[in-house]
Structures are given as C-alpha cells and as structure tokens.
C-alpha cells in the first residue's frame, strides 16, 4: 500500500539562467570557435547534474551569438536536461551593441525571467576575441540600467590578446571578472570552470558568514574570488586576470 508521501511533488525551485554570449565574428573562425564549441558541449552534462541535484534552484541555459547582428540560439531559456549545443560557425563582424540590445530585451519578467516560482539573478558568461565593430556604447549603457543585469554574475573570457579587455571590463563592471586565455587548453578549462562555478554560486541560496552586519553578500564577488583562487593554483597556465600574476612561464606556447 502506497504511503501518503507518494503524493509529494518536487519542491518549488527558483530558476537560475546561465547565459552564454558568444562572439561568432570572423576572427573566431578555426580553432577558437572549434574549441569553444567542444568545451561548452562538454560542460552541459555537468550543468545538468548541478541542476538535477539542486533543491534551491533549477538551472536553465540561454545562448545568444553575435557577429553581423545578434541571434538567440535558444528562443527561451531551456532546461539543462533538454539542451543540446549546436556547434556555432564564425563569420562576419562583431556587433557587440546589438548583442547588448537583444540581451536587454530578454532580461525582463515579461520575457526570459518569467518563472512562477521566481528566479535568482542570472549568470552571464561572455566570450569574445575582438573589438566591437558597431556603436555599442548606447546599448551597453541601457543594458547596465537593467536590474537583472545589475544583479547578475557577469564573467567575460577574452580569447587571445586582440580582445578589447576594456570593453569586456565595462560589460562585467569589474576588471577582475575578465579572464584572458592564451591557449585552447586554457579556453577549455575556463569555459568549464566559469560555467560550473557561476552556476553553482548563482543557483544556490547565498552564502553567509562574510562581510559586515546586515550586509548582503555578493555572488559576483564570490564568483570572482573562486576564479582567482583557481587561476592562481592552476599548474597549466595560459590564463591571466587583472591584478593576478600570470600563472605560467610557459608562454611561448601561446598560439593565438
């Protein structure tokens, strides 16, 4: 005879959306976009596991690519369980401003942030190797007024030295949230590490025990802290963060 607890349903969970904003301009063509495609594809099962074992929040995934204009790959945030990564191709310009505009439109309770059980602030992961080719300032300015964006965990990975790190820092609001990678190995590692860490921190009830009395913690800072610790101890290298010494002397390996 079934007990009454057979009728229990899954607890109401908030949603935390992990956004991948991917530069698919022509300069990304070749091993950059190839490495990126494989790395994201490989991390999705880990994100799915984080979500399915998580009693605090479900993790969803949204993908926006930008080159000539910008396009949502996911029409709405998708459950990590249902999400399959479609390999992106790289071609065209870097319409960074258009990307900001499209992101801004969807960061709204009327659009992507509409879960009935509520949301946690999203985690936004930007990957780029270049320089905006459009007039991006106005759209970035607008995006930065969006409350969802303000509260989001924002991390950018600059792929190689041609990336405009100042623009990325403007986007994340923090120089230390911009990680430069110099090798395919470093890119792969950072995609995995940032996706997992930002998802973990973003999808859990916030940590306590740090900061002052009645001072809210800050998930963005917690994420940066975790990334810095990891980069500082990483034996492989090819990764660089503002104010953190480069983690490897092995820099002649840089192939980008």
């Amino acid at each position: 005879m079934a007990g009454i607890y057979e009728n229990a349903v899954k607890v109401a969970r908030r949603t935390m959306t992990l956004f991948f904003l991917v530069d698919t301009s022509g300069s990304m063509d070749g091993s950059k976009i190839g490495t990126l495609n494989s790395a994201v594809e490989e991390v999705i099962p880990e994100i799915y596991k984080l979500s399915s074992d998580n009693a605090d929040a479900a993790i969803k995934i949204a993908v926006l690519e930008f080159s000539n204009g910008a396009r949502w790959i996911t029409p709405a945030p998708m459950d990590a369980a249902d999400f399959r990564w479609n390999h992106l191709n790289a071609d065209g310009l870097t319409d960074f401003g258009e990307m900001c505009k499209m992101l801004n439109e969807k960061l709204s309770r009327k659009a992507f942030m509409s879960d009935v059980a509520g949301s946690f602030a999203p985690a936004i992961f930007l990957l780029s190797d270049g320089e905006p080719t459009d007039e991006y300032q106005k759209e970035l300015g607008r995006l930065k007024e969006n409350n969802w964006f303000k509260k989001a965990i924002k991390v950018a990975v600059a792929i190689g030295d041609d990336a405009n790190k100042d623009v990325l820092a403007e986007f994340t609001g923090n120089k230390e949230a911009v990680i430069t990678v110099h090798t395919p190995e470093a890119l792969t590692k950072m995609i995995r590490f940032v996706s997992v860490t930002a998802s973990q921190i973003g999808s859990k009830s916030s940590g306590v025990g740090k900061g002052g009395v009645d001072q809210a913690t800050n998930k963005q800072n917690d994420t940066i802290e975790a990334i810095k610790t990891t980069v500082a101890e990483d034996p492989v290298g090819g990764v660089e963060i503002a104010n953190t010494p480069v983690s490897s002397e092995n820099q002649e390996d840089w192939d980008w």
Partner: protein, 435 residues
Amino acid sequence: MAEYYPKGYKIPLANGSYAEIIQKLGEGGQGVVYRVAIGGKEYALKWYHKGAVQNPKKFYQNLENNVNKGAPTKAFLWPLYLTQPVDGSFGYIMELRPKNYREFSDFLLAKVHFQSLSSAVNAALNITNGFRELHRNGFSYQDLNDGNFFIDPTNGDVLICDNDNVAPYGESLGIAGKARYMAPEVVRNLKRPDVMTDRFSLAVVLFRLLFLDHPLEGKRVVEAPCLTEELELKYYGKDPIFIYDPTDDSNRPVRGVHSNAIKFWPLYPQFIQNKFITALSKDAMTGKTTRMTDNDWQLAFTRLRDTIITCPCGSETFINVAGDANCVNCGKKIPKPPVLNCHNHKYGLALFPGVKMYRCHIDKDSDDFTQVIGEVERNPKNPAMWGLRNVSDIVWNVETLDGTLKPIAKGQIAPITAIKAIHFPNSIGIIEYSK
C-alpha cells in the same frame, strides 16, 4: 580546476598506514570523495580542494580532535582517520554510505519518497536525536542544511554526514552556510554559528523533512521576481516570516507552488503544528524567546509516533488521543483506540495492532525511543481481540479490571480489554478507553 587522484594512488594517513584510491565517488564545493581501501577494507575519503578551507591548520586540528573524541551516535558518518597533509591539502576517512540511504535533497526533489508516515516521523526523530547527542557531547554542527543527511526511505534511519564542520562549543570554524538554513542572526552576521543557531537550523530541516517545502518561503518570497542577495538577507535574516505564522498571514504558501506544504501540513496533529509555530515564531526567530530544544523535539516526535496506526485501508494514519480522527489517506473516521497513558500523560501510546512500546514508555527516567519493550498484536484465532505482548526481560504487573495483579513475563500477552493499568518497576501505565 581539480585534478583527481588515479586508481592505485596511495595517500599516507596520520596513523602511519595509507589509503589506496579505488575510484572517485563524488565532488562538492569543498572537495572530492573517493572510495579507498585501507588494509583490505573499503572506506570513503573526503579530500579537500586546495584553498577550500579558510584556516587549514585550525580545521585540521579540529578534525583531529573530532577523530579522537569519536562519534556521538552511530547515526554519524564521523571522521575515523586523518590523512597526512600532502600535495598542499588533506582529507579524512569515514565509513562508506550504504546504498539504502538516499540524499535528503532527493526527497525534496521527489526522486524518492518516504514509504510511510512512520518512516518520515522516524527520520525526524533520528535527526533530532543525532543533534541532541551531538550537542550533549559538547559540539555544535554549524552548517546544517539539506546536504547533510542521508535517509533510508523505508524506515527513516538517518546518516548525518559532513561532520568536518562540527566543532566544540564556542569554537567557530568560519563556516559560511547557506542563508536558507542559517539562523537569522547568522544570516545578518551578528553571530557565528553555535548550539542556539543549530536549533534554528534544526527546525528548518525538520519542517522541510515532514512538509517538503521551506518554512520561510511563501507568498511574499514567490512574489519577488528576483531573489537577490539583499532580499535573501531580508527574508532569512532581518525579517523572516513563517508561512504558517498565526499572527501574520502575509507569507502563506501559494497554491500550485508550495503544493507539498499545503498537502502535508494539515495532516499533522495540532500539537506538532504548534511546535513548529513556536519554534518559528517571530520571537523565537529574533531571539526574544528561547528556541525549541532538541529535547522538546525528541519528546514531540516520540509522542507523535505513539499515535501512528494502520487504517483498514492499508495506509498509516495518526489517531487523536483526545477523540476521533480521520484517516489521512481514505478520510474514514478512526475511532479513538485504547491509549496507554504513561508517566502522567507524558506519552499516550495507541494500543492498536502493530504499535510498539519502547523503553521510554515504561521507564520514567529513560527517553530511549529505540529499545522495543512490547508490541500490540491481534489474536490469530480472533483478530478482533488485541493483546499486548511483553518482549522485554522486565516482568510487568498487569492490573486487571477486577483489581487483581497478574505478572506478565517475556513472551506473554495480556488481552487489552482486560487491562486497567500496568505496573512497571518505576512507573504505572494507565489504559484510557474512548467514551
């Protein structure tokens, strides 16, 4: 970026032997858990990520201290041995978790269900008792949350894990817990975790265990579109409101969202609801009144278990010691069965087939809810006749309705309708019939 130890890798232990890696079992924020072999027997090794512990030296010493003191009860997956500090980090050895235990979060995520009402109540009783014994041994837990428990869904047996955060009273390991489970004063950073804050976390855990929702998350929390760190500080720290606070209905559960609370809360007897109302009152949360003690909870859940019987429909349900009740499953009226009033109404045991009597019922100085002393059985020849069998070594003196005393030794049965009272060595149990 964690690198994992390969199979066969040997990690030296503080006691001079070594643990050989068999396989990686899992990974959390703090570290990796491996299956290892030590001298031919298999154990679990928790290995910390480098930099995962704030003050490694103090943490290591505290673990050493816990290893030496030993587990408070067998419900704890306690650190048994420490490794030597190697490769810039360290770990500890514990028993492997048997497969019949499932993570608490799996119950919350409805991947597994309690098989019965009594398995849920037993789990509450076992968790409460674990913390009571931990606190009695001079420890506080500090980081109680849904990741700390493994539960057997069939019987409610509990394993308490992550005991590396356990520290003696007054010691703080700088543990940063999750806002949803920490006491308001810890969320606000007014205080470090200690026994008092453990008590709050215990109330949250017990609520989640029985009602499978969160006691502070109702209407107002759902209405916040984005649960920012600032709002978490408010809802769990500065201004928490219990979803069933009788003095404030602003945070009631929402239909379609908090379905479990809405379904399971009304099934539990008033006296249990009242315990949660007291434990999660504004005064108790803000520290104006003292918090429910582990003892209060243990007594409450022991009393609750006394009232669980099996309805003819096959489902377990609660009886009402004060009158009739309705089955939680089929809704049929359950007339009050005879009740054994122990220690002047401290316990009221439903004398219904299948119900067990424990040491705490017959010994006024004991709170042992595990040692079975007696059982109510049906007469195999006449199932309408119920008897109480003595399964203990203690001889009972049953006072029959006509006032004579009859000794009942181990294995013997007294027909319930013939009993007026039972004289135990240091107490008397009196039978109450419904009117």
